[in-house]
Symmetry: D2
Subunit: 341 residues, 4 copies
Amino acid sequence: MRIGVLTGGGDCPGLNAVIRAAVRKGTQEHGYEFVGFRDGWRGPLEGDTMVLDIPAVRGILPRGGTILGSSRTNPLKVEDGVRRIKDNMVKYDVDALIAIGGEDTLGVAAQLVEFGVNTVGVPKTIDNDLSATDYTFGFDTAVNIATEAIDRLHTTAESHRRVLVVEVMGRHAGWIALHAGLAGGANVILIPEQRFDLDEVCQWVENRFKIKYAPIIVAAEGAVPKEGQMVTKDESLDSFGHVRLSGIGEWLAKSIEAKTGKEARTTVLGHIQRGGTPSAFDRWLATRFGLHAIDAVREGDFGKMVALRGTDIVRVPIADATAQLKTVDPSLYAEAGVFFG
Amino acid sequence: MRIGVLTGGGDCPGLNAVIRAAVRKGTQEHGYEFVGFRDGWRGPLEGDTMVLDIPAVRGILPRGGTILGSSRTNPLKVEDGVRRIKDNMVKYDVDALIAIGGEDTLGVAAQLVEFGVNTVGVPKTIDNDLSATDYTFGFDTAVNIATEAIDRLHTTAESHRRVLVVEVMGRHAGWIALHAGLAGGANVILIPEQRFDLDEVCQWVENRFKIKYAPIIVAAEGAVPKEGQMVTKDESLDSFGHVRLSGIGEWLAKSIEAKTGKEARTTVLGHIQRGGTPSAFDRWLATRFGLHAIDAVREGDFGKMVALRGTDIVRVPIADATAQLKTVDPSLYAEAGVFFG
Amino acid sequence: MRIGVLTGGGDCPGLNAVIRAAVRKGTQEHGYEFVGFRDGWRGPLEGDTMVLDIPAVRGILPRGGTILGSSRTNPLKVEDGVRRIKDNMVKYDVDALIAIGGEDTLGVAAQLVEFGVNTVGVPKTIDNDLSATDYTFGFDTAVNIATEAIDRLHTTAESHRRVLVVEVMGRHAGWIALHAGLAGGANVILIPEQRFDLDEVCQWVENRFKIKYAPIIVAAEGAVPKEGQMVTKDESLDSFGHVRLSGIGEWLAKSIEAKTGKEARTTVLGHIQRGGTPSAFDRWLATRFGLHAIDAVREGDFGKMVALRGTDIVRVPIADATAQLKTVDPSLYAEAGVFFG
Amino acid sequence: MRIGVLTGGGDCPGLNAVIRAAVRKGTQEHGYEFVGFRDGWRGPLEGDTMVLDIPAVRGILPRGGTILGSSRTNPLKVEDGVRRIKDNMVKYDVDALIAIGGEDTLGVAAQLVEFGVNTVGVPKTIDNDLSATDYTFGFDTAVNIATEAIDRLHTTAESHRRVLVVEVMGRHAGWIALHAGLAGGANVILIPEQRFDLDEVCQWVENRFKIKYAPIIVAAEGAVPKEGQMVTKDESLDSFGHVRLSGIGEWLAKSIEAKTGKEARTTVLGHIQRGGTPSAFDRWLATRFGLHAIDAVREGDFGKMVALRGTDIVRVPIADATAQLKTVDPSLYAEAGVFFG
C-alpha cells in the first residue's frame, strides 16, 4: 500500500501533526509507504512530490504550517484535472490519498471519490466552521492566542478610559470571537451570524464606563452592522481606489469614537492567530486524526472523513462535512449575552 | 432565591470562572442572591460565609485557585453534620447549593440530596478521572503546561545523550500523561492503569538512542512497575524513617541508569500543573458549567451535575459521576503505542 | 518618615512591582509609612489618597497596570498647583514623594524639587526612550510580546506568498521595533529615527520572495516614509472627516500591494504590548528600582532618579533623564541592516 | 577568509542565534566562508565538519540547542591535540575560529591562542557565572521559565497550607535562583554562595504561615545547608548503593516537614530551564554577539571574547572571562532579604 498525502487551503496549527501520525502509524504498524504531494491538489495534478518517510516527519509535531506546502488549486476547474490526478497516482504508484483540508479541499475530495479516486479526508479549518465534527485542530490554538491578547488588554482597561477593540478571525462563523470573548471576559462579542446594532454597542460601552473599567469589544472579522449603519461603498474604497484594508475593528473604533466621544483603540491580530506551535489539544486531535485516517485507508473506507464526536474519533461521509457551514447557534450566542455591557 | 456556592478538594484552574459565571447569570438574569461558603463543606457546616455578589467576582475569570477557599472537610463524618448544614442554610436563608468539586465533594453532595438538601453539582478534577463528563476544567491547562515542558526537553534531547524523565500528575488515571505525552512527542508514556515493564522501557531507551536523539519518558505519578520490579517497602522509606518524597520519576531515572548505563535526568512538575491562569478551553468550559448550573437550580433539578458531552452541556445524576473512576481505556493507550521506543 | 507614591502616564508592566518593593523595604527595614496618591499628579494636587501598606501590595508583583491609577494631569499647568501639592503634603503629613513615570511625570518632578518638594524619581517608559538609564521596565515585556507575534507569522510566511506587516509601539523611538525585529528575524525593520524609502522596502520584498519564504516587515508606529512618498493630508482623513485611525502598518500593506502586486496582511499589536504580566527581567528591574528609591529617600538624595547602568542601580539627576529623548543610534540600526531584504 | 565555528558545553538557548548572525554578517558583508565544526572541540580535533552557509542557518534563530552539536571534549588533554587542530585548520583551509562556550570551552580557546590558533570567543553559560560580561544569553530564558513556574505555585500557595519548594539550576552561582526568586515573589531564596541555616528557613516558613498564604522557597541546586545540618554521606546513597538523584529541593522538603510538621511539595525544573526557544533578550544578545565576533575576526583581534557592558558589546581578553567565577555579591543577596519570611 502506498499512500499520497496532501494539505490544502490556509495554514493551520496541527497540519504537521496529522502528517506525522499518519506516516508513523502507516509505516510502523502496516509497512505502508507514503508520498508527499506538494501544495494541495497542485501536487497530484502536476505530479509534484516529495519524500515522506519517518525521517521526513521527525520533529514536526510542534511546528505550525505544513511541510507539504499548500495552495488553493482546484483540479476540477482544470482541464482534464481528474484524469491527470489519476495518471499521476498510477505514475507514482499511489493506491490511496489522504486529503487534509477545509471546505474546498474536501469538496474536491468528495468529487474525486465519485471518479474512483480512493480518498480519505481529514477536516481542517481554523474557524471551526466545518459540520460533522465537534472541533477541528487549529481552532483551540487560535482561541488561546486571542484570549491571551484580551487578557493583556484588561490591564489597560483597568487604568485608562479607552474603548479597546480586538478584531479576530472568522469570516463566516463567529466561533473564535465567541470562545475567546467568553474566555477573555470581553464586554461585547460580535459575530457574523447576527448583525449588530451600533447603537446598542455604544450603549453597552456607556454602561460599562459607568460601572467600572473600560470596555473590551471582540469582533469577528466578518461581523457586520445592521443595515443603514453599514459601511458604504464609498467608505470601503480609499483615495487610491484600492479596496481598503482596514476591517470591522477599525470601523468600530472610529464609529464608537464618533458616537460616544470616548477614545478607542484597535488591535488586529491577523495571521498571528493561525501561526506558531499548536496547543496541546490541537496536537492531540491532529495526531488522532492522522492515526484514524490510516485505519480508514486500511479498511478501504474511502469517501469518509475522520471527525471528533465527544472524545471519540468517528468517520462520516466527506460530503456531510462540506454540505453546510457550521455557524454559531443563536441560543449559544444568547447564552453569552449575560456578559455583555 | 438565594444560592450558596462552595468549592472543595484540590485547586484547579477554572474554579473562579465557574463561580463568576453562576453569580453573573443568577444575579443579572434572575435576580438571585448568592452566599459564598468558605473552604468547601466546612463553610456550610460551620456557617462560615463571605459576600458573593457581582463586585466580588470581578476580575477573577483568569485567576487560578478559588476565591472561596477549599478544604477536604467531610460533613458526613462529623457528628450532626447534615443537621448543622441544614440549620446553617436556614440561618443564612439559602435555598439551594452549588457544590463544585471532585469525587469526594460530589459524593457528599449526592448524599445530602438524599437528606433533602437542594444541591446542584459541578464536576472538578485536574486528573480528568470523573465519569459522566467528557472533560473537566483544569485538565486542559495541566496538559498544556506538561506539553510545554516536554517541548523544552526536546532541545536537550537533540544535543545530549541523556534519558529525560518527566513526572506528571495522575495518581489513579493516566490522562495527563497520555495527552501530554502524545502532544509533546514523548517516546514512552507510563500510566497507572497498566503496570509497565522496566526491561521493555529500557529496551525502548536503547532503541531510541540507536535511531536518533535521546528518549523522553513521561510518567504519571501513579505509574507502577511490574511486580518483582516494584519499589520495595524498604526503598520507600528513607534513612530517617520518613516516607520518601521521591516519586516514580526519580525511581525510573535511577533504575534506567542502573540498567542501561545511560545518564538520566528527572523533571518533576508537581504543583505547577494545577496553578496559574486557566487555558481558554478551561475558561470556556468552566464558564458554561457555571451558567448551566444556574439553569438547573432554576428548574429545581437537584441531585444533578452539569457535564460536557461533545459540545453540549447536559445534566446527569451526581451519583453517576462518582460511581466509578474514569480511567484510560486500554485501546486508547494501545493507540499511542505506535510512538513508543 | 511618611512617603507618598504616585504613578503617571501610560501603563507599563512593572509599575506595581516598583510600588511593592518600595513599600516592603520602607516598612520592614526602616519603619516608614506610605500614602498612595491616586492617578499621577492628580493625587497630590487634589489630595486623593489611598492606603498603601504591606497588605495593600500583596500579590501585585505579577500584575500589569498600577494599583494607584494613572493620569496625565500636569500640576504646573494648574493654578496654584505647586502650592496645592505642598499643602496636601502637609495635610497628609507626607515628607517625601516617589514619582514613577516618564518624561512628563518626571519633568514635573524635576520642577517640584526646585520648589522644595522632596522627590525621588523612578523612570518608566514602555518605549525605552528615556535617557540616563540603560533600560526601563515594561520594555522587555513589550519586546517579548512583539517577538512572539513575529514568531507566529513565520509559519504563514513559510507557506503563503504574502507580505506580512507588523505594527509595533514606538512613536518617537524605534527600540521596540529594532529589538523585536532582530529577535524575531524580521526582513525589514522601520523606525521613526530614519525615514524609509518605500521603493527600497519594495525591493527587499521582491528579493525576499526570490530567495525563499515571504517577507515580514516590522514597523514602529512612528515610522515615516521619505518625503514625496508621504501620507498626504487627504489620505489621513476619512470620508467622515475623522482622523483616520489606520496607521503606518496599514499604509505599508496597501502601498506594497500597489507597487509589487503581492498580497499583504497587517497585524496591529496595539495595547496588548503594554498589558499583562511583566517579564522576569522587568520585575527584577522594577523591584530593584523600588528598593533603591527607598535608599535615595533615606539618604535625602532628592531630585535624583534611580537608573540602570549595566547591572548596577545608580542615581542620576532627574533633569538628565528628561533632557533628551533616547533614540536609536544610527550605527545600531545599521548593524541590523545585514538582516534586511 | 574562512572561519570555523564551534559550540561547546551544555546547551543554552541562543547558540543558534549566534551562529546565524555570524554567518549572515560574515557572508553578506565581507564575503567570508564558514565551516561548522561538530560537537565542540571534537570537531576541529577530529576534522568533523558540516556545511555552514546561509541556507544552513535559515530558521534557526528561534530554536534552542545548537545545530553544530556540542561536547565536553578537551583537546588539551588529548595527545597531540593542539597539533591535530592546527593540521585540521590547514586541511579545511580555516583561517580563524569562533568558539562559543563556557568556562571550559573558552579556557581551551585561551590556550590555543597561545599556540597561534586565531580564535575569538563568545561567552555562554546558562548560569550567568562568567566574569567580564554583564549577562550571557540563555540566562534570561531560564529565569523566565523559573519565574513562570513560581507564578503558578502562588495559586496553590493561596489555597493550601503546603510549603512549596522549587529547585532551579545553579551549581556554583545562585543567579537564576536570585533573579527568579525576586521576580516570582518567593519567600525564601537559597544560593550556593551562602550556606543556609535550616532552622532560619523553618522560622521563615512558620512566620509566613502566620501572616498569610503558604511559603514558596526557591533553591539553587548547589545550595548547601550549614555544617552539621548537612546531608550525611549515608543519606546520599540509596539502598541500592547508587548515588541518590534527589537534590537539595527534596532534601529541603523532607527536612522542613520533619521540623515544622507542615506538608511540603517539591518541583524540580531540571532541563526544562535550558531548552526551548530563547527569550527576546537572549536572541538580541546572542545575535549581537555573533555580529561582533565577526568584527573581531575581521580586525584580527584574536584572543578576545565579546562581552556585554551595559547596552554595548565590547571585547575583553578571553582569559579575563575564565579567570574567576562570577558569583552573587553578598550585598545583592542581602538586598533581596527584605522579601524573605
